[in-house]
Amino acid sequence: MSAHDEDTKDGVSRRKVLECMTWAGTGVLWTVAGGVPTSLGIMGEAAAQTTGMTFLQISDSHVGFDKPANPNALGTLEEAINKVKALPAKPSFMIHTGDITHLSKEKEFDDAQKIISQAGLDVHYVPGEHDIIDEDRGKMYLDRYGKNAKGAGWYSFDSNGVHFIGLVNVVDLKGGGLGTLGDEQLGWLENDLKGKSASAPIVVFAHIPLWVVYPAWGWGTEDGAKALELLKRFGSVTVLNGHIHQVMQKVEGNVTFHTARSTAFPQPAPGTAPSPGPMKVPDDKLRGLLGIASVTFKPGSARLAIVDQPLQG
């Protein structure tokens, strides 16, 4: 049993959380084999080494955000999509891990759609808490993106032998609590995984980190451990999240946790500021803190490589 396993049993202290996190550097490729993340080098080398299925993750585009931390969030989303278009090999599809919009406004959804569709890829969405604050609390999101989804927008699909699961942990949040999946969704997940071979690679994506990153700022999912319990028997599980607007990675047994950068604005590292929220940095630093992630799966090897690519640098 690793130190991580022990930590999660009794709740995680801030110090231990920070100890257990591996801070991934800019543009570094992480290959995960046998539960140990290994840095293979910078992106150029990585691209040469990887063959297999690649998909992209974008997150937290916050279309409509116009505050000093980034007066033009739509513009930086477009820069991110231009990065995607410029990739030498076309990815299979894209996932968006939520907070597409800033205030769930029709125009924000429209603007986001206009830019994201320019990538020419299928996009699989999960909502962030900013996407469900319309009058009907999520109807606008579900009308657009929830056609094949259950409940508040969760679903699964298969691609290239990998089972993908999109979860929703931003609905019906309780005072004092963290992100929540809820019993209905957990019941669905249990069913969804039934009969799946333990050797099937699993990718789970949701907006708020499924593991408890920093509870004082609400960065974690209340019942995330219940979902992970259901995933325990699988040999390769990758959990991709957003919400915290920075790259963070942790490996626990067969599970790799990874959070992606935002395309809109950075947030402080846990505990380094009085609160989370948009962080104003010098203009020439902003694009080094925004970006996308690409994830590559090599069939047969159960290896999954995640490359975080900033907009600049």
Binding site: H102, E129, H130, G175, G218, S275
Partner: protein, 131 residues
């Protein structure tokens, strides 16, 4: 902490708030005792976080963060998303304890205790301030 004890123009203010927000305005006598209190939202924190007010008090939350927040008191009220500078106002007419939180960031919590009014205009407040 910003607590405004409104003495002048109270009726007009209460009437205006009442009309603007669609709340019923109680009779002139009741509104003459009304107080208005402001709760600031800054750095993902409600300030003051805990409040004790008299029934009839109008509380206004103001979002001073660069991120939207909502004010939710389960079973009692739920604000629309408040962008930077937006306000939400609620008049507490019933005594009791009201816990509330931000619907987007539920680790942000606050509480308001509403005490029954005594019926006397001139009675000093428990903390020594005069009405």
């Amino acid at each position: 902490m910003q607590i405004h004890h409104v003495r002048r123009g109270v009726f007009a203010a209460a009437l205006f708030l009442g009309l603007a927000l669609g709340f019923a305005v109680p009779g002139a006598v009741a509104s003459a005792r009304a107080e208005e209190i402001e709760v600031k939202i800054d750095n993902f924190t409600f300030t003051p976080q805990k409040l004790t007010v008299k029934a009839g008090t109008t509380v206004t939350w103001i979002n001073e963060d660069d991120i939207p927040h909502t004010i939710v008191s389960t079973g009692h009220f739920r604000s629309k998303p408040l962008d930077t500078g937006d306000k939400f106002t609620f008049t507490f007419t019933t005594p009791g304890s009201f816990q509330y939180f931000c619907g987007l960031h539920p680790h942000m919590q606050g509480s308001i205790t509403v005490e029954a009014t005594t019926g006397s205009l001139e009675q000093p407040r428990p903390n020594g301030e005069s009405q």
